[in-house]
Amino acid sequence: MKQMVHYALVLLILGGTAGVGLYGVNNLTSERIAEAMKRNLTEGQKQLFPAAASFDGPLSFPLSSDSGTYYKVLGADNTVIGYELDGAVQGYQSKVRVLTGVTTNGVITGIKVLEQAETPGLGAEVQAVPSTRTLWSALAGLFSEAEKESAAALLPPFQTQFAGKDLGGLAVVKQKDPAKIEAISGATITSEAVTRAVREPLEAFLAWNGK
């Protein structure tokens, strides 16, 4: 009995100390974590509507049994120039969250994958940017200033396919077809998931907003 109390006490003290320590660390980091997550979103919002002056939201609209999240995109004179929809769908092995920019007439301005943890080399390629920068030029760049800036921020080709399409073009195909979405080879499920994360909220939103 006495031994049991001793054991319990040791564990209690150890656990308590760890708990207090974690409380402190969490206090120090929680603000930055929230900030980092928000920055990802605001960067995406800007990217889809470079002309936007401000964003109104998050607002909600009915999406199947649940509700979806959207933002109103406001122009310089405070008129609504478009919407941004925040949709999430289960991909191959993770939740795929996509932000979709759409004009008031239902044309997609672009999409940005906000979250995904799909298979590296296959599904994760939806976020891949073709890098023309080689290791050798990067090494050379360590010594010359001119090289450093050449790595421009490119957009992932899979995601740029969505720009300029409307609901009718949101179908995944395996062959090259400029009117549709070409799947990433070997990653049909993830390609499909991204497309659904765009199409499903968009469909529901347009139906609801059109009323």
Binding site: L14, V25, T29, I33, G121
Partner: protein, 196 residues
Amino acid sequence: MTTQLKELTKGLWEQNPIFVIALGLCPTLAVTTSVRNAIGMGVSTIFVLVLSNVLISAVRTIVPDKIRIPCYIVIIAFLVTVVDLVLAAYFPDISKAIGLFIKLIVVNCIILGRAEAFAAKNNPWRSMLDGIGMGIGFLIALLMVSGIREVLGANKLFGYVVFPGWRPIGVMVLAPGAFLTLGLLLGWKRLSELKH
């Protein structure tokens, strides 16, 4: 002095946690898709391993034998959570890529293995040296596996193209490539020992 130096260097190669002791193979297979991820995982593990070794060694006389494993786990879990939060706050990119595996450091056999086999029997100073050596040995192994896999499987190193125009062997960044690379490296290490 020489024995202390030995505690530090034994983990680097001679008793490398991956290639010789063969502990912690799960993260080795999972996070080595790119060198960047491997460094993130390796450095996080070094941090947890060194501190857990020191802390466990410090409390080894207070903790009763019968409940030592739960006590070790509490200490390790605490350290891992700290790493997880700090990564999420200051290195969100790495955290996104390997966040899931950071949490799994808790059950990384290297950490508990070193706690049981070394820290529980030695003083904090020696345990720290052991932790540093083993941690760096783990990092070395991760770098070797991930370097091979990233170059062959994605034709990249640190995200930069290595051979312009070459189409990489995509399967090497997937699970089969991980097993193949690790298996060949293990075999090569054994072979080099047999020859001595």
